[in-house]
């Protein structure tokens, strides 16, 4: 009798504490996705080859493929929404998109606004695309020189403060690269992975990526802040882990013509299943 009552009290206590810890998890977004049968994912529309436009109007790219895999695993339909650096977090915050996979660098102040979940699926650092003829070898050579960039990139501020460059921030990459071609600036500052992709495309034969990549900064995909420690957040963590372990992202890189990333190779080794082979 006494054991039974102790047991029931213990169980009740456990239940209340357990429920109080997870009381915040209302799983709104998760439930919305499941009820609706569709997941709305925000991907880039102007960053080849991670997310860009196809001539029939659909969004394609490496991250679009990742979004498709998420939808397939969930068993729901996929809806892709094009986002830009300047509005991707707001869209997620406002609930316009349920998930954001948009080449976003994982930063502390961004984690306050959106729910970035681990493990990071990609990484890149800051570098520049500069004409070969200029022969840049060091970041300090950018002092007081005009450098084209994109509005909203976090390293614009860093480049200006650390190296004294003058960043001219355009609304889109198209204008920034065009301005570089027109010689209105000496370099284009962006992610080294994007720059590598552009250089590999063959359109930029006169340009190179000469400097040492700085501020290697992992990328983060994001769920709404409230879902971070709830079902949706945990699910996306699982997806990222699966991608890294299986080497799926390496295959996607190959499909989209992106240089194989050392980070992904390292991560695959890190997560290798001890029972495999």
């Amino acid at each position: 009798m006494k054991t039974l009552s102790t047991l029931t009290t213990a169980a009740a206590l456990l239940a209340t504490t357990a429920s109080s810890v997870f009381a915040q998890c209302s799983n709104d977004t998760w439930n919305k996705i499941m009820d609706r049968g569709t997941i709305v994912v925000g991907v880039k529309a102007d960053t080849k080859p991670w997310g860009y436009l196809n001539s029939d109007g659909s969004l394609i790219g490496m991250e679009a493929d990742m979004a498709a895999q998420v939808a397939e695993t969930l068993g729901v339909e996929l809806e892709l929404v094009g986002v830009q650096s300047s509005n991707r977090m707001q869209f997620l915050e406002q609930g316009k998109i349920d998930l954001m996979i948009a080449t976003m660098s994982d930063r502390a102040d961004r984690r306050d606004i959106v729910g970035v979940v681990q493990p990071n699926y990609y990484t890149s650092g800051t570098n520049i695309m500069a004409p070969k003829a200029l022969g840049f070898t060091d970041w300090s050579q950018l002092k007081d020189k005009p450098v084209c960039g994109k509005q909203g990139a976090f390293y614009n501020k860093i480049i200006e403060e650390r190296h004294g460059a003058e960043v001219i921030a355009f609304t889109g990459n198209a204008e920034a690269k065009q301005a570089l071609r027109d010689k209105k600036c000496v370099a284009w500052v962006y992610d080294d992975s994007s720059i590598a992709a552009d250089l590999a495309s063959g359109e930029y034969g006169d340009y190179e990526m000469p400097l040492k990549t700085e501020d290697d900064n992992p990328w983060g995909l994001a769920v709404p802040k409230g879902e971070e420690s709830c079902v949706f957040g945990k699910f996306m963590s699982g997806m990222q882990y699966g991608w890294l372990q299986s080497g799926e992202l390496l295959e996607l890189e190959e499909k989209w013509g992106i240089q194989q990333s050392q980070f992904l190779i390292d991560q695959q080794d890190r997560f290798v299943d001890w029972l495999s082979e």
């Binding site: 436009l53 196809n54 109007g57």
Partner: protein, 290 residues
């Protein structure tokens, strides 16, 4: 109706009434309507020739650049330009409805309403359109709760609200000008026939104003349509946004710039041309004598 400065000793005017106070409300429409039809093929061929002139550093020949434009054409027209037209139609709808109300407020008898309307008109006529767009688009929620359900407000609708604010102010001024241009004899006659102020306004004055307001209204419609590319700076998907994204997807070759932006310019002109001809025809038809 010259106004002369009479000093008493001469009838000669010191300064004549200037023949032009504000930009001709039909200026754009008139010039567009006067364009001979051969301008469009000329413009189109210029767009064709330009890439060869500009091909200093590029690898794309004219036909390649045009081929790329052709590939993207369906998307640019159906998802791009159609969106511009949609935005302009809705903006004129909301802007006109609220502008008429605001214009009526400007000539209201009630002092508070008059002053408030004056303030609104001043604020929205004097603010840069882009700043208003930024503010409206970043503060409006993306969905509103009505009763129990959520109504989503798409991005372009928020842009519509943002653009309809300056339009509202300008339409209000058109309405006010039209109302004040109706001879006061009409008001007096209506009063002597025992019409209330509201009846006078809605049954006598406004129907006369309609004809006067139509041509400047249509001119603002053309101006607004040409201004819709502003929303591309805020990420709303329309013609200029899609053009940029298309160029990015094609690797940003500089020889693509003029074909794509030139096409944007051309399609806007082609759309506004019939409207311009219609406007000038309407003005002639509704021209008031004296």
């Amino acid at each position: 109706m010259d106004r002369h400065l009479h000093t008493g000793s001469t009838d000669l005017p010191v300064i004549l009434e200037p023949t032009y106070k504000t930009p001709d409300p039909l200026g754009f429409s008139r010039w567009l309507a006067s364009l001979p039809l051969w301008t469009f093929p000329v413009m189109a061929s210029l767009i064709v020739i330009w890439p060869t002139i500009a091909s200093a550093q590029t690898a794309y020949s004219t036909s390649a650049a045009l081929g790329i434009l052709w590939k993207w054409l369906p998307l640019l027209v159906t998802k791009g330009f159609a969106q511009n037209i949609l935005i302009s139609l809705f903006t004129m709808l909301f802007g006109t409805l609220s502008g008429v109300l605001l214009g009526l407020g400007r000539v209201s008898d009630v002092g508070i309403i008059r002053k408030f309307s004056w303030l609104m008109v001043q604020v929205f006529r004097n603010s840069p359109w882009l700043v208003l767009l930024f503010i409206v688009m970043l503060t409006l929620p993306f969905e509103i709760q009505v009763g129990g359900s959520y109504i989503a407000i798409p991005d372009w609708m928020k842009a519509v609200f943002g653009l309809s604010l300056p339009i509202m102010a300008n339409i209000a001024e058109i309405v006010r000008g039209a109302i004040q241009s109706v001879p006061s004899a009409q008001w007096e006659a209506a009063e002597s026939l025992a019409f209330s102020r509201r009846q006078t306004m809605w049954q006598i004055i406004l129907p006369q104003c309609f004809k006067r307001m139509l041509p400047p209204w249509m001119n603002w419609f053309a101006i607004l349509t040409m201004a819709t590319p502003l929303v591309s700076l805020l990420g709303v998907s329309e013609l200029v946004t899609l053009s940029r994204q298309a160029m990015e997807a094609e690797g940003n070759n500089p020889s693509l710039l003029v074909p794509f932006f030139g096409f944007a310019l051309l399609i806007f002109f082609v759309y506004c041309y019939p409207i311009a001809r219609l406007t000038v025809r309407l003005e002639r038809k509704f021209a008031l004598k004296g």
